[in-house]
């Protein structure tokens, strides 16, 4: 069965009109003769949103008990049984209560798409995993419900619902986003012009990167043609464009210099930084190793970098896989110790990495201070 098409309405903050626009487009599709149903809608008591939902069929919700409280959740099996051509599912970053099919709604959506149903959904930019820390620092507010960036990357279409910060605040003051008693608190906290301006910039950049990423994938697809090859090329192509730096680390103190260099470079390039440790399969993380892994993880958190552990028995193959997955454009490695014995006959690591990674990925070697000093 062919998977459904996935369209995401992305916004910089609550109240920009993502759900409203999703419903509008749902009406347009229904008007064109398609079978459209609302899988889940969160109108947040907004009159305009509720009015826009009128006329569209809503699949019943199911009641789920959390401790002694009952909440209403999307009825995933019910929606798949109903089998509309297009399902509108609000708030893809939502966390489901325990006991349902999946922990997160975006995982429910994957099931709906797999059933061949097209999906329209909504999300705010601060829910994207890679931007969570950056936005927390910009706005002082951290969103706990995050979704992997790959969710956005997997969408066939991403529509940015853009609004100027001034217009959004105007909507807030007019009571179109929150009820009267919450407006002042919102204005005092999250809904500040500077916060919204920063979020808007992040959203615009995110969508620009997404568009560029899809353009790259598409141009490759055009050359190849068939659907099967299309999938293969899409999987091989970088998921994101713009620079992205990957530093190959080991959980040992000497990696810190490499991390510092990599972070400085990432700062200069204005790009994200991933730290990767390719761990031999089955190696237990305990004792001193555990301490070093924890230290690296904490350092990554301080820097806003992502620490990845890839279990693989081949350093080069493991690294190449992550480079492809993360869309890395720079790879930074530490200087190796001089090879001994038969290892001298082996091709040096940077060359092997260059061959294994996609064309265009630069490999940079960071000198090890100890080695330099020994060599003097």
């Amino acid at each position: 069965m062919e998977s459904g098409r996935y369209k995401i309405f992305l916004g910089m903050a609550a109240g920009v009109g993502k759900t409203y626009r999703m419903l509008q487009e749902g009406h347009a599709e229904a008007g064109a003769g398609r079978d459209v149903a609302i899988g889940y809608l969160e109108p947040h008591k907004r009159a305009e949103t509720s009015a826009q939902a009128r006329g569209l069929e809503m699949v019943g919700r199911r009641r789920v008990a959390i401790r002694e409280v009952e909440v209403e959740e999307m009825d995933l099996p019910g929606l798949i049984r109903r089998n509309p051509e297009l399902a509108l599912i609000d708030e893809l970053a939502h966390t489901n209560p325990p006991g349902l099919e999946h922990e997160k709604r975006y995982e429910d959506i994957a099931d709906v798409l797999a059933a061949g149903i097209d999906v329209f959904s909504t999300v705010n930019v601060q829910h994207l995993e890679s931007l969570n820390d950056q936005i927390a620092e910009l706005t002082g507010v951290r969103v706990r419900e995050t979704v992997p960036d790959s969710v956005l990357g997997s969408a066939d279409e991403v529509v940015l619902i853009d609004l100027t910060p001034e217009a959004l605040i105007e909507r807030l003051r007019a009571g179109k986003i929150y009820p009267g008693e919450n407006i002042q608190a919102a204005l005092d906290n999250f809904f500040k012009i500077e916060n919204l301006a920063a979020l808007r910039e992040v959203s615009l950049r995110q969508v620009a990167e997404d568009v560029e990423s899809k353009r790259l994938v598409y141009s490759e697809v055009e050359q190849v043609g068939t659907r099967r090859e299309e999938d293969k090329v899409a999987a091989d192509a970088p998921k994101a464009v713009g620079e992205r730096l990957l530093a190959l680390v080991r959980p040992q103190p000497s990696s810190q210099r490499l991390v510092r260099r990599a972070w400085r470079s990432a700062q200069r390039l204005g790009t994200g930084l991933d730290l990767l440790w390719v761990k031999p399969p089955g190696q237990p993380i305990e004792g001193e190793l555990e301490r070093q892994v924890t230290a690296l993880r904490r350092l990554a958190s301080v820097l806003g970098a992502t620490f990845l552990i890839e279990e693989h028995d081949d350093l080069v193959a493991g690294t190449a896989r992550v480079v492809r997955e993360r869309g890395s454009t720079y790879l930074m490695v530490g200087e190796s110790n001089p090879p001994k014995g038969f290892a001298r006959l082996r091709e040096p690591l940077p060359q092997r990495l260059m061959r294994a990674t996609p064309p265009g990925v630069d490999v940079r070697i960071v000198a090890h201070r100890g080695l330099k000093e020994e060599g003097r």
Binding site: D133, Q134, A136, E137, G140, R142, P253, Q256, R257, R260, W263, R264, Q267, G287, E288, R291, T294, A295, R298, L299, S301, V302, L303, G304, R369, G370, E373
Partner: protein, 187 residues
């Protein structure tokens, strides 16, 4: 014949037992005691005397120096958020300390720790890791740093030997960061 067999068996048992004992000892960490000297610092400068004292100790004891930059996270932000501005400052300082340690052959394993205050950051660091000694300078170097109360708290609470350096005539010699780039030694 049986004697040869018994001797062989005894040898095998002896070798096996010796191997197991050696493994057990390694596992218990008896032979892998890592001495760690913590050198916490704040702000954009650190007394050179404190670095030198910590390096002397580390070299004498074959210990690893753990320079730790303590970063303050405002209450408006989550404690575990990224702090790139603080990290930028910390990186330059840590790079300079590592250079100095490297020239003296002392291994370094740096840290950046976050807290609501310097004391809170230090408490978190002491909670997460074990250190044999903590070296802090009582000198008033610049505006940032540990207060007298912080030092008293450290003496009372730190599960390690604490070395507080008295103010000295060389305290104007600091490692400091002026904007971007590596830290410099100011004389």
């Amino acid at each position: 014949m049986i004697e040869h067999f018994l001797v062989g068996l005894a040898l095998l048992l002896g070798v096996g037992l010796g191997f197991l004992l050696a493994r057990r000892r390694r596992g218990s960490g008896e032979t892998e005691v890592v001495h760690q000297i913590l050198l916490p610092f704040t702000g954009s400068e650190i007394s050179r005397r404190a670095i030198d004292a910590a390096l002397r100790l580390a070299r004498a004891e074959g210990a690893t120096l753990i320079p730790a930059y303590l970063a303050q996270v405002p209450k408006s932000l989550p404690l575990d958020c990224a702090v790139p501005k603080e990290a930028d400052r910390a990186m330059a300082m840590l790079e300079a300390i590592e250079q100095r340690a490297s020239s003296q052959g002392v291994p370094v394993d740096a840290r950046i720790e976050r807290g609501r205050s310097y004391r809170h950051a230090l408490a978190r660091l002491l909670e997460h890791e074990n250190f044999d000694r903590v070296v802090v300078s009582a000198t008033a170097t610049g505006t940032a740093g540990f207060s007298g109360d912080d030092l008293v708290w450290l003496l009372e609470k730190a599960p390690a030997e604490v070395l507080i350096l008295r103010p000295g005539p060389a305290d104007h010699r600091v490692l400091s960061v002026n904007g971007k780039g590596p830290a410099v030694l100011e004389l």
